[in-house]
């Protein structure tokens, strides 16, 4: 990445007319693509920060006419949004931790060790990943009720982690694959055990991969809607994805309050992503590069 950034100035310096035209085209394309991509988000913000009289009008003004914040106060005052967010946060955090721990084990076994059954294990993961979650909703519900595990955030996190774990292992395996074998060999010669090598050599080198796993697992659990709606029957455990969809069904929620809720719900994952962006790019993609 760094090398490309330094290229920028070098390329931009040689300005023949064709190049200028080309770069205008490039910037225009980038602008259009970014605009189209970001517009729905912009529109959510516009709708959240204005009184609904502007937005409930056709054609709606494209630029904000008036900024207000009362809808956020009303939202938090009238709905248990803080509780929803807390539940979502706990579920997502637990899912994330669980996935990070288990995917390290699985990825290491898939990537760095040779053993019979490795391919079988890979296939096993692939198959669990392909299953439409809804197929096992009722069997899981029955099992959970028998074990008295309904209405617990941890129980839901266990399910979420089970669904997203294969992908996490796959991401991390790609990253582990990129650790040069010589480094590992050297460490073993130095008297490290296999596990010691994982802990001391592979993991530190794979921090970005772990970050990617964290984000992917967190997003999945933060997003999850179907299971959260069924497994957590009591309102006090309701996560934000379900809470928000109940707002959708409540007709009298004012538009601006409704959009404000969507915005509030999006802030955390977006911030999480932005703070991790640097690592994710290298982490998520190591596997892909390896191909």
């Amino acid at each position: 990445m760094a090398t490309l950034e330094t290229d920028t100035s070098a390329t931009l310096r040689k300005q023949t007319p064709r190049r200028i035209l080309g770069s205008i085209g490039l910037y225009l394309t980038v602008a259009v693509v970014s605009l189209v991509t970001i517009f729905p988000v912009y529109w959510m913000m516009i709708s959240a920060f204005q009184p609904s009289k502007y937005i409930m009008h056709f054609p709606p003004p494209l630029l904000p006419q008036e900024l207000t914040f009362y809808q956020f106060a009303e939202l938090f005052g009238e709905r248990p949004v803080a509780l929803w967010l807390r539940n979502s946060f706990l579920i997502a955090t637990m899912t994330m931790l669980l996935c990070m721990a288990l995917s390290v084990l699985g990825a290491y076994a898939l990537s760095s060790l040779r053993w019979t059954g490795r391919n079988l294990f890979g296939l096993f993961l692939l198959i669990t990943q392909m299953l439409p979650e809804i197929l096992i909703l009722i069997p899981l519900f029955v099992i959970y009720r028998r074990l008295n595990m309904l209405n617990s955030l941890l129980s839901l996190a266990l399910i979420d982690a089970a669904f997203i774990l294969p992908i996490c292992i796959w991401i991390l395996k790609g990253v582990f694959d990129n650790v040069p074998p010589e480094v590992l060999d050297a460490s073993v010669v130095d008297g490290c055990t296999e596990l010691g090598a994982l802990w001391r050599i592979v993991l530190p080198l794979s921090a970005p991969g772990l970050a990617a796993v964290a984000v992917v697992a967190f997003f999945f659990a933060w997003n999850e809607y179907l299971y959260a709606g069924i497994m957590l029957s009591s309102g006090q455990y309701m996560p934000a994805s379900v809470g928000l969809s109940t707002l959708k069904a409540i007709a009298q929620t004012p538009v601006e309050q409704y959009m404000a809720a969507g915005l509030v719900f999006s802030v955390l994952p977006v911030a999480f992503y932005l703070s991790m962006q640097r690592y994710i790019v290298s982490g998520l993609t190591a596997g892909a590069v390896k191909g």
Binding site: T8, L12, S34, W43, I55, M56, F58, P59, L62, L102, A109, L110, L113, R114, W115, G117, N119, F121, G122, F124, L125, T128, Q129, M130, L131, P132, E133, I134, L135, I136, I138, P139, L140, I143, P166, I169, K173, G174, D177, F219, N223, Y225, L226, S241, K248, V255, Y258, M259, G262, F265, P269, V270, L274, Q277, V281, S282, L284, A288, V289, G291
Partner: protein, 316 residues
């Protein structure tokens, strides 16, 4: 697809010959010890319920009754295969999945190529581009329902610019339009992830390849087809499978936006399963549909695995 199945992992290191038998045994058992918790975990929460689900599909479960399920053999499957609605759902599912793969991956590839070129503000633009991936699905649904509202939706401003459009179209009430929007919205949500992965693959292509080809007088289009695409081929294949899995399982967006309508135009198998189980309360039949969905995705995945295996063979 062997990448995903783990077959092409890095070869293990040669064993040290001077290790003790005990250490060797420990080394032999280590991978199993590492994998065991995962297999148990996935086994308990995924595989066992799948088995239960498959069993359920051969029974008739009376609603809200204490009677044990009755074994009915292939009844549910016979009903499924003779149900024209089932075949329509399969069609819709495949169409939706294929369209999302094409749209999301094309946009992902296009933006990756774009962002592989140097320009000012690239980090900012990339941050913006990734936004849809970070926004959770329920807010995405909320935004788009509002944007597409026939009364107040902002997209109508654009639509009205088209010749002949004097009324705001009912975006989600016309079968073709609704399907189009489901594909667009799902792709909008998914493409940043694919773009990111493709971008990394692009950046791993050695620049010398391009330099050498340019010396040979290749034009940009040739560079693209002869160097870029082959170099990221495996990545693209992998993403096709991932995109297929993800879009096949897409539930929240379709369920909350159209519920499968209008006229079943967006009723994919996942939606159908939900409706059958929770609107028709026909649980046994729903599990049979679920098994069918599972089988379809297995077939698709194995097709890719086979393809990959053949290519690896050819290469060798």
């Amino acid at each position: 697809m062997s990448e995903l199945a783990g077959a092409s992992g890095r070869a293990g290191r040669p064993n040290q010959s001077e290790t003790s038998p005990r250490a060797r045994r420990r080394r032999y058992l280590l991978p199993f010890a590492l994998v065991l918790p995962i297999v148990l975990y996935e086994g308990l929460l995924i595989v066992y319920p799948i088995a239960q689900g498959i069993y359920g599909s051969f029974t008739r479960i009376e609603l809200a009754s204490k009677n044990p399920p009755v074994w009915v053999g292939w009844d549910n499957y016979e009903r499924m295969f003779s149900d024209p609605a089932f075949w329509k759902v399969i069609q819709t599912t495949l169409l939706f999945t294929a369209l999302v793969i094409v749209v999301a991956l094309s946009v992902g590839l296009f933006t990756a190529l774009l962002f592989n070129r140097p320009f000012h503000f690239r980090p900012v633009a990339r941050g913006m581009l990734m936004m849809p991936w970070a926004i959770p699905e329920v807010p995405v649904v909320m935004i788009f329902i509002w944007i597409l509202s026939p009364q107040f939706g902002v997209v109508n401003i654009l639509a009205r610019l088209l010749p002949g459009v004097t009324q705001n179209p009912q975006w989600l009430q016309v079968p073709e339009l609704a399907m189009g929007w489901m594909v667009l919205i799902s792709s909008w949500k998914a493409f940043p992830f694919y773009s990111l992965v493709i971008l990394a693959a692009l950046q791993a292509i050695p620049q010398e390849l391009y330099e050498a080809a340019k010396v040979d007088g290749a034009n940009p289009l040739q560079l693209f087809w002869r160097i870029t695409i082959p170099s990221i081929g495996t990545t693209l294949e992998l993403l096709v499978v991932l995109a297929a899995i993800f879009s096949f399982k897409q539930f929240t967006i379709i369920f909350l936006m159209t519920g499968g309508g209008p006229s079943g135009a967006t009723e994919t198998i996942v939606i159908r399963i939900f409706n059958t189980a929770f609107r028709f309360y026909d649980y046994s039949y729903a599990t049979a549909l679920g098994v069918a969905g599972f089988v379809v995705s297995l077939v698709v995945a194995f097709f890719f695995i086979l393809m990959q295996a053949r290519r690896t063979q050819e290469a060798a």
